[in-house]
């Protein structure tokens, strides 16, 4: 038997997708001959995956300061030709020279310099504050071309910058706020801008515009702040039935790593779990149940409102036919045990549930894309299973072309009586063709117009591809799950097959109006990237989430009833208006809030409206409510250290343990283990 050379860099090049096609074939032949080599390469994969995870989890480093960004922008404007470099006629120089002196005096009148004889470099070395300014100066000195007007301006700029640096020693007494500091810099910068087209305007340096969104126009505030009902009575967001974030978090915690905060989408964690909500009885696509309970004892410091939405359940025998296109990534990066082989097993499990009502086509994509199986009836699963078994991974990933072909196939065989859906299985690593996220988004958004739905199944990717896949599924009228093992595949594609594949309502939006007579402030738990503006609620052009058959969706609000102290991190109140009467008092209404839900039928274009007021008193929360609160507390603690201090993980652990209930499938017990893992990892 041949023995391989472990020093050969081709093995790593193979793992990292760096081999030429000719080398690739050769290497694959060698694998076939040598099982030891295969094991060795498998180890390299393992190490590479750990490296990727290690770097993905690395904490971020401070970015540039505002001053530094401003400096880059200025340089950019200069180069963009708004201030031409070499085109000034000689006579202009005289005017400019005179004008610069004026400007200079105007400047110094504004910000009198402090005298200092120290060379600039020493000062830069001495003062922390000047560190950001020193490269600025170097570049100006290096550039100065006194022969032309621009050079003179550059010199001016230099002297001003130097003036500033001399000021810096006593800076703290002169400059009271960072905004003012920026104003100083912007002043020097505007010298170049002030001279345009031969006219100079003598204006004191204006501070840069501060973009502060008017609270009234932008409903999307940092969701981490409590909002006052008096100023923000409406809260609007899109439904989200995805569960991917929970699976990603689970995987990382099982491997002994704390997930990065951005990977934690609390609503997806809450919605991973099944809750026992009553289904609709009146022919509507879903029911909504509202309740609220006091969670102050449990250190949340607030009451919680629960919005429990339950989608209409469809019995398996009554389900509509499925017209599915599997879009499977077979690029080299999928060549890992938990990627393509798991994709195959997952799709096999799905295919085995199909019958004569259904059709399946398979599109594969790598460097090129192609139809691996034309639309085939589900009555006989064998041809579909054979086609799946034949798939092999190699090459680069042209995601865009594959997506186009998959949608084209789905469109050509579009059947209004069936569910038309593309199921994308990928690690999210698109690296050929359309790769920019923006282009992919636009492509999917366009294709979604055709009435074809999208399911994104993520396999084995590093964390940063997670956001790409989430956005693609949002744009494509779709849902998104992360499949890390066969149990999760079974949960998504077998146990909850209809929820995943049969959409019962699309563009589902929720708008909650709080009654200021009962509620002083509120904060939505999760849904950070699902927030909508209040105007979007009635705008049918604005896209939102889908809900599948039998899905349960839970949204929680932290609520401060009137009379309770408002937490310190609430958005500050707005003054009463001078020209408008204060909002009408809520009067006698005892309602806490009114929930409005807008949705479209799966094939509809016009939305329908449902309303559900909450007028009950606070209840003792049931086990489902308490468990959802435990998941919420856990997720929020992973996202936000300040929250973790207020509601420690031990608390969420107790809450979850006491609310386990019957726990079919053991998912709640699993959460309890994850909370324990996280506790062990935090200090």
């Amino acid at each position: 038997m041949k023995t391989y050379n472990p020093e050969d860099p081709r093995w790593t090049a193979y793992v990292l997708n760096e081999l030429e096609p000719s080398e690739l074939e050769q290497v694959e032949r060698e694998f076939a001959e040598d099982p030891d080599l295969k094991a060795f390469v498998e180890e390299l994969y393992e190490t590479a995956a750990r490296m990727a995870a290690h770097f993905a989890a690395e904490s971020s480093v401070a970015g540039l300061d505002e001053l530094q960004r401003e400096r880059i922008q200025t340089e950019c404007r200069v180069r963009a030709g708004r201030i031409p470099r070499h085109s000034r006629a000689g006579w202009m120089m005289g005017i400019a020279a005179a004008a610069t002196i004026c400007l200079l005096s105007a400047w110094f009148a504004f910000y009198p310099p402090r005298r200092s004889s120290k060379p600039v470099d020493d000062l830069a070395a001495e003062s922390v504050e000047t560190e950001s300014a020193s490269p600025d100066m170097e570049s100006v000195v290096a550039e100065a071309e006194p022969a032309d007007i621009d050079g003179m301006l550059a010199q001016m700029e230099r002297s001003l910058v130097a003036g500033e640096i001399q000021e810096l020693e006593g800076l703290l007494s002169d400059i009271s706020s960072p905004a003012e500091m920026t104003g100083v810099m912007a002043g020097s910068v505007s010298l170049r801008q002030a001279y345009s087209g031969g006219t100079l305007r003598l204006e004191p340096p204006a501070p840069p515009p501060v973009i502060s969104p008017s609270l009234d126009d932008f409903d999307v505030l940092p969701p981490s702040d409590f909002r006052r009902v008096a100023d923000h009575p409406l809260s609007t967001f899109s439904i989200d039935v995805d569960t991917a974030s929970y699976t990603v978090v689970r995987r990382m915690l099982r491997e002994g790593r704390l997930p990065p905060p951005d990977a934690v989408r609390v609503e997806e964690m809450i919605n991973f779990f099944q809750y026992d909500y009553a289904p609709p009885e009146d022919g509507r696509p879903f029911a909504a149940h509202l309740s609220w309970a006091d969670f102050t004892r449990s250190t949340w410091g607030s009451a919680l409102v629960r919005i429990a939405v339950k989608g209409h359940e469809i019995p398996l025998e009554e389900r509509p036919g499925l017209n599915l296109v599997f879009l499977i990534d077979v690029s080299g990066s999928m060549n890992r045990p938990n990627r393509l082989p798991l994709v195959k097993r997952s799709m096999e499990a799905l295919v085995r549930q199909l019958d004569e009502r259904d059709r399946v086509a398979i599109v594969v994509y790598a460097g090129q894309s192609g139809l691996a199986l034309p639309p085939t009836s589900g009555a006989d699963p064998q041809p579909i299973l054979d086609a799946l078994a034949k798939l092999r991974a190699s090459g680069s990933t042209a995601g865009g072309a594959g997506i186009q072909l998959a949608y084209q196939t789905a469109r050509e065989h579009f059947d209004p009586e069936r569910v038309n859906r593309v199921i994308l299985c990928t690690d999210g690593d698109f690296n050929v063709g359309i790769t920019s996220r923006g282009e992919l988004e636009r492509l999917i958004e366009e294709e979604a117009q055709s009435g074809v739905f999208l399911s994104v199944l993520g396999f084995g990717m590093g964390n940063y591809k997670d956001s790409t896949l989430e956005i693609l599924s949002n744009k494509g009228n779709g849902n998104y799950a992360y499949i890390d093992d066969f149990s999760e595949a079974r949960r998504v594609l077998v146990d909850r097959m209809l929820g995943t594949l049969v959409t019962i309502a699309k563009d589902v939006k929720l708008q909650v109006e709080f009654n200021p007579a009962r509620v002083a402030a509120y904060r939505l738990v999760g849904y950070e990237n699902r927030m909508l503006r209040k105007e979007d609620f009635n705008n049918d052009k604005v896209d939102a989430g889908e809900i599948g058959a039998g899905h349960t969706v839970t949204a929680l609000y932290e609520v401060i009833p009137v009379g309770w102290p408002i937490p310190g991190d609430a958005v500050p109140p707005v003054d009463p208006l001078r020209y408008q009467a204060p909002r009408v008092e809520a009067g006698e209404s005892r309602e806490i809030l009114n929930l409005k839900i807008r949705y479209k039928e799966p094939d509809g274009e016009v939305s329908k409206l449902l309303e559900f007021p909450l007028d009950a008193e606070r209840v003792e929360p049931d086990a489902d409510f308490r468990f959802a609160a435990a998941v919420a507390g856990f997720g929020k603690a992973l996202r936000d250290p300040a929250f973790a201090e207020r509601v420690p993980l031990t608390h969420s652990l107790e809450l979850a343990e006491a609310a386990r209930g019957d726990d079919p499938g053991g998912y709640r017990a699993e959460l309890i283990q994850l909370i324990r893992n996280a506790m062990a990892l935090q200090e």
């Binding site: 760096e18 490296m51 290690h54 690395e58 971020s60 950019c76 200069v78 180069r79 950001s132």
Partner: protein
């Protein structure tokens, strides 16, 4: 795309990654930020046609040389006086402290610390920035063959150490 839009897009796309990379090279946050600022200033002055299409590789290469240059210049600098240090308190853990902190749970940082600087840098460019061998070679001034060899040795070494740690005979 307008020139200024192009620059803005580059800053948005690469600022965080460059700061992280620069910091990994010098371990000094302020110096890293200065190097990144200079890198973008140079981008403003560069010929767009020569950079477009491979911006990331270009930026990382320039950033690397800026860090080395600034480090050389920074050597004679005096330490800050306590008065100046008090100006900018930073209560957060530095990335270095966080890395040390993680060590307790994760043996990987300690293993990586035993690699050479070049290996660590190549690993970062590969696994954090997802660069090809060719781009890494461009950034680090090496041949593609060198890069392949460095990465292979690094992965092999780490794999072996992990195996030992897990108690599996190597």
């Amino acid at each position: 795309m307008e020139f200024s839009d192009w620059i803005t897009a580059q800053v948005q796309a690469h600022e965080a990654a460059l700061c992280r990379y620069a910091f990994s090279l010098c371990g000094n946050e302020a110096l890293a930020k200065d190097a990144v600022q200079e890198t973008f200033l140079r981008l403003c002055r560069a010929e767009r046609g020569k950079v477009e299409g491979h911006e990331a590789a270009w930026l990382f290469k320039v950033c690397r040389s800026r860090v080395i240059d600034l480090q050389r210049k920074a050597k004679p600098m005096q330490t800050l006086t306590p008065r100046h240090e008090a100006v900018l308190p930073d209560p957060a853990r530095t990335p270095y402290e966080s890395a040390l902190h993680r060590d307790a749970a994760d043996p990987l940082p300690a293993m990586m610390a035993r690699l050479t600087d070049r290996q660590r840098e190549a690993l970062r460019l590969k696994f954090q920035e997802d660069m090809s061998y060719r781009d890494i070679a461009g950034v680090m001034n090496l041949t593609e063959g060198n890069v392949g060899f460095i990465l292979h040795t690094a992965l092999k070494t780490l794999g072996k150490q992990m195996k030992q740690l897990e108690g599996v005979p190597a």
